[in-house]
């Protein structure tokens, strides 16, 4: 998971930085200058095209990215609204163990219906049940909710810290830059997953007791999610900061920064109005690609038994539970695996699409 981040490091000679900052190398062959205004031409009704609008237009033409965006929106809606709709669509079931129970009970992700173990999809359980008779679809939707919440939480921290530290380090240099450099050195030598394993492994039981009182996320064995998120954010923000730092250094060298200083703008204003808006595209791309890492990271931790605990659900936990019986019930391991793969691929494709949209030249 470390490697994914590398691919967008500006330090690498392979990757072209934000186009909008670049002078076209070969004007003679540069034919795609979007409609330069000819001097002879009088004022015409034509909307000004901002670089952002231009990028979004390119993104809309990218089928793969748009399908991915659709998949992501669908998964988000599924995880948020899915359980309520799903529980309304089922009738009363007469359980041999529990008597008559409504769908709001047996279609929850934690209800164990031992009369229905290891079943394939049916009208009652749309995606079948697991070895404890729990509804796989319900668990899947809960797992998605976990993945997406962790992703959002981690990215918020990641972007905030990354921009804050990265811009300060890049713009002012000095001790912040030194600290950041040392920090990223250590993180590169300390494989992210290993660190997260240590943190969650060592503080997991503590989190179970202390953090389970936190509202919303606390109950249902999800207490460790906060810990997992914190751990994921802790290893991802220095990389974001390094990326931002590199980009800031590049923007800082642009003449428009010097021009702003000549125009009497203070450092704060230059950072706020010139540096940060120009970081927008690279941060959005990096964050989108990083969501994939975060989701994989959370799933990996749960897979290793250090994340979400029973009776909670997570895609990683589902895979881990089902993989013991992969030779007898492959269906149970396929469902969460494929869902996870689709979710992660969607974010990767969207990230790739965003990168191309912001910088059409990378697409060769």
């Amino acid at each position: 998971m470390d490697m994914r981040d590398r691919e967008i490091q500006p330090a690498s000679p392979l990757i072209a930085p934000d186009t909008n900052l670049m002078v076209p190398a070969e004007p003679e062959l540069l034919v795609e200058t979007p409609g330069v205004i000819p001097e002879a031409e009088g004022p015409k009704e034509r909307k000004p095209v901002s670089p952002l609008r231009e990028s979004l237009r390119r993104l809309r033409r990218d089928k793969r990215a748009m399908v991915s965006l659709g998949v992501i929106i669908f998964m988000v809606l599924l995880s948020l609204l899915g359980p309520f709709i799903y529980q309304h669509l089922g009738g009363i079931y007469n359980s041999p163990d529990n008597g008559p129970i409504p769908a709001t009970v047996y279609r929850t992700f934690y209800h164990q219906e031992l009369s229905h173990q290891d079943e394939l999809p049916s009208a009652q359980y749309w995606l079948g049940t697991d070895d404890l008779g729990r509804d796989i679809l319900a668990r899947l939707m809960q797992g998605l909710l976990v993945s997406i919440s962790v992703a959002v939480l981690v990215e918020v921290i990641d972007i905030t810290m990354g921009i804050l530290v990265g811009v300060l380090a890049g713009y002012f240099g000095g001790w912040i830059d030194q600290v950041l450099a040392r920090l990223t050195d250590i993180i590169f030598a300390f494989p992210g997953l290993l660190f997260i394993i240590l943190l969650t492994g060592i503080f997991g039981t503590w989190a179970d007791t202390t953090l389970s009182n936190v509202p919303i996320v606390g109950p249902n064995g999800n207490a460790r999610l906060l810990l997992v998120s914190a751990a994921l954010a802790l290893v991802s923000w220095p990389l974001m900061a390094r990326l931002v730092r590199g980009q800031t250094l590049q923007i800082k060298e642009q003449q428009f920064i010097e021009a702003a200083r000549t125009a009497g703008s203070s450092n704060l204003k230059i950072i706020w109005r010139h540096i940060i808006p120009n970081l927008f595209s690279i941060v959005v791309v990096a964050a989108t690609l990083d969501i994939s890492n975060t989701i994989i990271g959370e799933a990996s931790i749960s897979l290793l038994g250090l994340g979400v605990q029973q009776p909670g659900s997570s895609l990683g936990l589902m895979i881990s539970e089902a993989s013991n019986a992969v030779d007898t019930h492959p269906w149970e391991v396929l469902v969460p695996s494929v869902t996870l793969a689709i979710l992660v691929l969607a974010f990767s494709f969207l990230g790739d699409g965003l990168r191309d949209a912001f910088d059409p030249r990378t697409k060769d």
């Binding site: 004007p27 062959l29 034919v31 001097e39």
Partner: protein, 325 residues
């Protein structure tokens, strides 16, 4: 032996891009004699580099493609040659040097190797040692001091001017008949430019090589070339011996160019006469003369018909204008 070393007839090189077809070179014809020094002048985007790359058949394809015309080199049409025959020709009969000496040499090979490689490629049966000796000889010729030792250096150990000398050494190593120099001094300082031009001129004479010098700098042409071609928007607008171009320019664009650049020997207080507007977008269809929108002498006819390159009555001078001066 044919009369002309090079004869370009109705050359058309287009670029097929998402934004449309860019007619970078559109119906260009000219000739070069053996040993002649020809200057091709024009602003960026006028098609001068594309013309040169078409002659040596190094147009990046896609998006570029030579869609029409013929290029006769020693009477043979280059456009009909296959790839293998073309590689035989490149570097031995036709050589080319490029604008940016900083990036034109491969950073991981020594200077000597890069010269010797060309020699090895084109001289059948030459030994590695002999090729290396030739490399050192060439480095001496382009006046790189201590050539024997410097041959083992890598490009990054050389300055821009020195690297351009190495490029000249590579280009001339096999005694080519034609040397195409695409803005060879644009990236260099004036004092270095003077060194390089002097060297190139001298060596071309010595080797009997015809020189095609592509530049945007009219001054460079004036001191180096015998004949001049002026290009604009993919067309040749004027061609003439160097003295005529500067003394009696016929095309309004040539006149405009001459009046818009400050001269070192001008009297103070003179004012420049700029050419208004900017060159046309080549991805759009141009009807009539491409210079019509900027021309001070424009007539209705110029906007409808495209003028052909015709003699303007002063010997070898040709201009593509209905109303030449």
């Amino acid at each position: 032996m044919p009369e002309n070393l090079l004869e370009v007839n109705n050359l058309k090189t287009y670029f097929f891009t998402r934004g449309g077809v860019v007619k970078a070179v559109d119906d260009v014809s000219f000739t070069m004699r053996s040993g002649e020094a020809l200057g091709v002048v024009g602003e960026s985007g006028c098609g001068k580099s594309v013309t040169a790359l078409s002659i040596i058949r190094l147009i990046a394809s896609p998006p570029g493609k030579i869609v029409g015309g013929e290029i006769l080199f020693n009477g043979e049409n280059i456009l009909e040659k296959n790839n293998e025959e073309m590689t035989e020709l490149r570097g031995s009969k036709i050589s080319m040097i490029f604008q940016d000496p900083m990036t034109s040499l491969n950073p991981v090979f020594t200077i000597g190797y890069q010269i010797a490689e060309t020699v090895k490629r084109h001289r059948k049966g030459i030994s590695n040692d002999q090729a290396w000796q030739r490399a050192i000889e060439m480095l001496d010729l382009v006046r790189i001091p201590d050539a024997r030792r410097r041959a083992k250096s890598y490009p990054h150990e050389f300055s821009g001017g020195m690297r351009q000398r190495v490029m000249i050494a590579i280009a001339l190593a096999c005694n080519p008949q034609l040397l195409i120099a695409d803005e060879p001094t644009t990236a260099l300082d004036v004092t270095i430019q003077a060194q390089i031009l002097e060297l190139m001129k001298g060596l071309a004479k010595e080797f009997g090589t015809a020189l095609m010098l592509i530049t945007h700098d009219l001054g460079v042409v004036a001191g180096t070339c015998e004949d001049v071609i002026v290009m604009y928007a993919g067309h040749i607008v004027e061609s003439a011996p160097v003295r005529q171009i500067f003394q009696t320019p016929a095309h309004p664009y040539t006149i405009g160019l001459l009046q818009s650049i400050p001269r070192l020997d001008e009297k103070r207080g003179t004012r420049l006469t700029p050419i208004p507007g900017q060159p046309p977008d080549l991805s759009r269809e141009i009807i009539g003369c491409p210079y019509a929108s900027r021309c001070p002498r424009v007539q209705p006819r110029c906007r409808q018909e495209r003028p052909e390159l015709k003699p303007v009555g002063r010997g070898e001078q040709l201009a593509a204008c209905f109303y030449p001066s």
